[in-house]
């Protein structure tokens, strides 16, 4: 009884919001960014066939990319293209954060400004899209 009630409410919330596609596409950007960082780590050891075969970061990177594309297709299945596509820009944010952690790279002030602009833009798209879902322009 309670479960039925919860399910009904969940369906109602899903119909009113874009939580599912946004979660899926954000996870997609996390995976593709992790893949990019892993490819960067792997790129040091690609001199022979044997090195490619035993290069674990390379293979985990491939798996991350595969998972990322699967999540992207699922996100597109549940959400509008004009909502999902701009969220790919979030990968710039994750790549910058991950390169600070793993390669201790220096990020310029201009790049931080860009990251802020991307986060603001993605929030605006999420807000605008939820308004359209509620039939407000």
């Amino acid at each position: 009884m309670i479960r039925h009630h919860i399910n009904k409410n969940l369906a109602r919330i899903r119909a009113m919001n874009n939580i599912r596609p946004i979660t899926l596409v954000t996870l997609c950007t996390v995976f593709t960014s992790a893949g990019q960082i892993l490819f960067k780590i792997a790129s040091g050891n690609l001199n022979s066939f044997h090195q490619i075969i035993i290069n674990i970061p390379l293979w985990i990177g491939f798996i991350c990319y595969g998972l990322g594309s699967l999540l992207m297709i699922l996100a597109l299945k549940y959400g509008d293209l004009s909502l999902v596509y701009p969220f790919i820009a979030l990968s710039f944010v994750w790549v910058n954060i991950l390169s600070i952690i793993f390669f201790s790279e220096h990020v310029k002030i201009l790049n931080w400004l860009g990251i802020t602009a991307i986060i603001i833009g993605v929030s605006l798209i999420g807000y605008g899209s939820s308004r359209l879902k509620k039939n407000i322009l």
């Binding site: 699967l70 293209l81 701009p86 910058n96 400004l113 991307i118 833009g121 798209i125 999420g126 359209l132």
Partner: protein, 114 residues
């Protein structure tokens, strides 16, 4: 100078192709179902059977080759193309907030890639 103009034109075409790739991915995703009982290989074959998804992936990879270009900030044109395509072809609704969001994201991507 002629080569720079050519690179810019090539970049615009590549971004446009990439945007069509996303459009095909969107069209193909409607027929894409995640059946876990089929296993990972089954999902992979479903993926391959889907004409639109394959076309989308190929077009997106065509774009990938140009990403190493000096004109990286120009890839942000893709956000404009995709929004226009989803408005005119997929008949999706666009409002002021979405437009402002796109402008802000393009500004951000240009600043990050600069």
């Amino acid at each position: 100078m002629a080569s720079l103009a050519l690179t810019i034109i090539f970049m615009i075409i590549a971004t446009l192709i990439g945007s069509f790739g996303s459009l095909f991915l969107k069209k193909g995703s409607a027929q894409f179902h995640l059946h876990f009982y089929k296993g990972l290989l089954g999902i992979f074959f479903d993926f391959l059977k889907n004409y639109y998804v394959i076309l989308g992936v190929i077009l997106l990879y065509l774009l990938r080759t140009e990403e190493l270009s000096m004109l990286y900030p120009m890839t942000s044109l893709g956000y404009v193309f995709v929004t226009i395509l989803s408005y005119y072809i997929l008949k999706e609704k666009i409002n002021v907030f979405k437009t402002l969001g796109i402008v802000s994201i393009i500004f951000g991507v240009v600043l990050v890639t600069l």
